[in-house]
């Protein structure tokens, strides 16, 4: 009965579209990253690992982009998790209008990044932007910065905007995790005379681990693919200071040198496929246990 009632053709449309428009391009990329493919000539020649040599050579800028991507990913994971956790613990108890705050704090994550970027371009503006004006108003003139055009600050500002947008999302997931922890643990700990920090360390953190794992995986996959935040705020500038892998892919696209661009995506593809494999394993294992 199983085979007759659950026919294979139910899967075919979703699977077919996924294979044609997501898997096939990635596999084609594996081959084309070994060629001199570009938009100027029809002929495609096999050139071995030259594109990868270009990417990993110290004379080019690509390593810098890869480094920035990693820095961005690690920084946003740490900051979003720390802030999200703090907010979740704060909202979890003793707060009036809890759902109101939850709705508001989550809101930035549904606004398009393109729009958020435009808004923050105004907020960061050195002359009339909100931040510098506020700093001047309270007499901290020396703290004012060229947030997006100073090499010291540009990448930090990008990270800050991304954390502003994403921390609420992480908070909501962790909050759901906190609410799933039974009160009886805390009551037992109270009887044993545990302090707040002890309770957090011995009960909250370990029981929150599954949720923390998920948020870390989500942040990781998001961070490595980062593009729009950088694109709209600095577009890789000043100079190449804030380039990440995807902005470099984008410039290769406009330059027409598809071979190098494809090689860049392929590097990302291999890393993401490996990480994705572990993430998928993790998610399906939890399902079997649950």
């Amino acid at each position: 009965m199983t085979r007759r009632m659950y026919p294979f053709y139910f899967i075919v449309v979703a699977l077919g579209l996924y294979v044609v428009f997501a898997v096939v391009p990635s596999l084609m990329g594996l081959y084309l990253s070994l060629t001199d493919w570009n938009s100027f000539s029809k002929a495609v020649h096999f050139i071995g690992f030259d594109n990868f040599r270009t990417i990993f050579s110290s004379e080019e800028n690509y390593l810098h982009g890869i480094k920035n991507t990693v820095v961005f990913t690690v920084a946003t994971i740490v900051l979003k998790t720390a802030i999200g956790l703090l907010l979740a613990v704060l909202v979890n108890k003793g707060i009036r209008f809890r759902s109101f705050h939850r709705v508001i704090i989550f809101m930035p994550s549904i606004v398009p990044m393109l729009v958020v970027g435009i808004i923050f371009k105004s907020i960061f503006n050195p002359e009339y932007g909100l931040i510098n004006e506020a700093l001047r108003a309270i007499g901290l003139d020396q703290w004012t910065q060229h947030w997006l055009t100073d090499i010291q600050w540009a990448f930090k500002s990008i990270i800050a905007v991304d954390v502003w947008k994403g921390a609420g999302y992480i908070m909501v997931i962790l909050l759901a995790g906190l609410q799933a922890i039974s009160h009886s643990y805390y009551e037992a700990a109270d009887i044993d005379g545990a302090g707040a920090w002890m309770k957090f360390k011995a009960i909250t953190l370990p029981l929150l681990m599954p949720a923390l794992t998920v948020t870390t995986v989500l942040n990781l996959l998001y961070g490595l693919k980062i593009f729009d935040t950088v694109y709209v705020l600095t577009n890789g500038g000043p100079g190449y200071a804030t380039e990440v892998v995807y902005t470099q892919v984008f410039s290769q696209f406009s330059l027409g040198s598809y071979g190098v661009g494809t090689a860049l995506i392929t590097v990302l593809f291999i890393i993401m496929a490996a990480l994705g494999y572990f993430a998928v394993k993790l998610m399906s294992r939890e399902e079997q246990n649950g």
């Binding site: 199983t2 009632m5 899967i11 579209l17 428009f21 391009p25 704090i105 105004s122 909100l130």
Partner: protein
């Protein structure tokens, strides 16, 4: 309550209000400046406008071709999310009910798509080959594909909780596979389907890279691209840019406020098991 505890409660309430404020300040800033005159908005601040210029909105709708791009976005996100639910639910249903070795592999293979980056270069060839490049249908298909893996993931988890006895009852009453799915199972999936629809609608509404790469005419642009283009042209007129932004994010915020229960349920499903 001891005074110490009360102090703590007051303090955490103050902190949370400040954080909420921090989360909405940029949006409020846009709202205030959208109704200012051009010269007042040159410095984007919270100074209240002398007079409310609601004409900004009609100017923007006209100059930014917002009507057309709004319709485009609605068509892209609406159709893509609708079809995505249908196909993902069908796939998730069979994958979850018939857990053969092959289907188990196919499930993992499909949800691996949550992680994979899109290869924009080779996708051009595929789009040309399928003759979908520079077409609205092409964007709908691509949007659908980007949302399928996550949708299958959520629906698969949900279908696991729909009792199999229902299927058996249906079979005894003489249902074929299609009838069983469409008249018995699919209606049961409503809560998860709403979540999936809202999430993929918001995700695709906010997306702009795929249309940027695969649509060549501005007539077919979705709202996000239109607003970005508008920003490029009218960088100096922050009042117009603000009005444009408000009209772009208004649908998203309305959908969010109406469906926030479902969104939060969907975002947290799979991540937390009570």
């Amino acid at each position: 309550m001891s005074p110490n505890k009360r102090m703590k409660a007051v303090l955490s309430n103050i902190v949370i209000w400040m954080i909420s404020l921090l989360a909405v300040i940029p949006i409020l800033l846009i709202v205030v400046n959208a109704v200012k005159s051009g010269s007042e908005a040159t410095s984007m601040s919270f100074k209240l406008p002398h007079s409310f210029e609601f004409g900004n909105f009609s100017t923007v709708i006209e100059k930014g071709k917002l009507g057309q791009s709004f319709l485009n976005s609605l068509v892209y996100s609406g159709i893509a999310s609708g079809l995505c639910i249908l196909f993902s639910a069908m796939a998730a249903y069979v994958l979850s009910r018939n857990k053969s070795r092959l289907n188990r592999f196919l499930y993992l293979f499909l949800i691996l798509g949550i992680a994979l980056p899109i290869n924009y270069f080779t996708l051009i060839d595929v789009m040309k080959w399928s003759q979908l490049i520079n077409t609205r249908a092409g964007i709908i298909v691509l949007y659908m594909v980007t949302q399928i893996p996550f949708s299958v993931f959520i629906l698969y988890g949900f279908i696991g909780g729909v009792p199999k006895e229902l299927d058996e009852a249906g079979v005894i009453d003489g249902c074929g596979p299609k009838r069983l799915f469409f008249s018995i199972i699919f209606p049961m999936l409503q809560p998860a389907a709403v979540t999936v629809f809202i999430l993929s609608f918001l995700n695709t509404w906010n997306e702009f890279l795929l249309p940027l790469y695969y649509l060549n005419s501005a007539d077919k642009w979705p709202m996000t691209l239109a607003v970005y283009n508008f920003f490029g042209q009218f960088q100096q007129s922050w009042n117009l840019v603000s009005a444009d932004i408000i009209l772009t994010i208004l649908p998203v915020i309305i959908i969010y406020l109406l469906g926030q229960r479902f969104i939060i349920a969907g975002m947290t499903s799979g991540s937390v098991k009570g």
